[in-house]
């Protein structure tokens, strides 16, 4: 099945893909596996948003999900 992915430019430094793209995934594929595949360290990820809602790392994707991965902005 296919999902839409958008990775914030902040994660460019880790060498994986950033920007907007589509991905073909197997059933049972979750956020944690996506982060591994994209080479994004989990401890740098702030929000994972799926279809305009924040989800946890164990969220399992469904066909057509739109995923957005971005860091926290928590400085003052």
């Amino acid at each position: 099945m296919r999902i839409g992915v958008e990775v914030n430019d902040f994660f460019e430094k880790y060498g994986g893909k950033t920007g907007k793209f589509e991905m073909e995934i197997d059933p049972g594929f979750n956020v944690q596996k996506l982060l591994q595949k994209l080479n994004i360290p989990q401890d740098r990820v702030g929000f994972v948003i799926v279809n305009q809602k924040r989800v946890d790392f164990d969220y399992v994707f469904s066909e057509g999900d739109e995923v957005h991965i971005l860091p926290f902005a928590i400085g003052g």
Binding site: N8, D9, F10, Q42, D43, R44, V45, G46, F47, I49, Q52, K53, R54, D56, H68, L70, P71, F72, A73, I74, G75, G76
Partner: protein, 226 residues
């Protein structure tokens, strides 16, 4: 209506402006975001500002903290904030608190405030502010920034807690690598202040239980639920 408030009217109604005159607010943190928030609140014309921050100004603050200047380095931020507020709008009462905010002292420090502005820089105190407003029925306007990125949300007793927003992770914020040039706290403060005015005047769609993230590099903003 005093002449100084005329340019607020149109966006705010006279009723909304009058509500501002009767509203006590607290700003936790008087640094990057807090300095601009305090300046904005003085110009909006709230009844009273309670500002909590134990720090003094340092040279590293000059790049972004509106209340810092080369002559007040080493001075307490909240005392400098008080001077600035009195210069801008002597009609606004100001209570400076030179202490570190924590869950135990929040009822004493912030008990009088209706709205609390998050101008802090760490997740722990934000969780405590969230717990406090959810126990007391006050409103927390959360904001944070990192380089090109800004996030803003509103927490009340009817929304999820900020812990839900942060998802129980201890992820480092992007500011550790990107720093914070002046436009980041400036924009965060502007968004916190406009949320406040929306809530006060009952206009638009405040970010209650929602978070808005802004990416200045791609000119995009998004709103999501948590």
């Amino acid at each position: 209506m005093e002449k100084r408030y005329i340019k607020n009217i149109g966006t705010l109604t006279c009723e909304g402006q009058n509500r501002l005159f009767q509203t006590t607010v607290a700003v936790v943190g008087a640094g990057g975001i807090g300095g601009f928030v305090i300046e904005g609140l003085a110009r909006l014309g709230v009844k009273k500002i309670i500002a909590v921050d134990m720090d003094v100004f340092d040279e590293m603050n000059l790049n972004r903290q509106a209340l810092s200047n080369v002559n007040n380095l080493g001075n307490h931020k909240v005392i400098e904030a008080e001077k600035r507020v009195k210069e801008i709008n002597p009609g606004v009462r100001f209570l400076p608190i030179r202490q570190k905010a924590c869950l135990e002292n929040l009822p004493d420090f912030l008990g009088e405030a209706d709205y609390i502005f998050d101008a802090t820089d760490n997740i722990e105190i934000r969780k405590e502010l969230s717990e406090f407003v959810q126990n007391t029925g006050k409103v927390l306007i959360h904001g944070g920034c990192a380089g090109w990125y800004v996030q803003v949300a509103v927490i009340t007793k009817y929304t999820s807690s900020i812990e839900k927003l942060f998802g129980g992770t201890s992820a480092q914020g992007a500011e550790k690598q990107l720093g914070n040039p002046v436009f980041a706290p400036m924009l965060t403060a502007a968004l916190e202040l406009s949320e406040f005015c929306k809530l006060i005047s009952g206009k638009g769609e405040p970010l209650v239980g929602k978070c808005m993230v802004v990416n200045l590099l791609t000119n995009e903003y998004r709103v999501f639920e948590f």
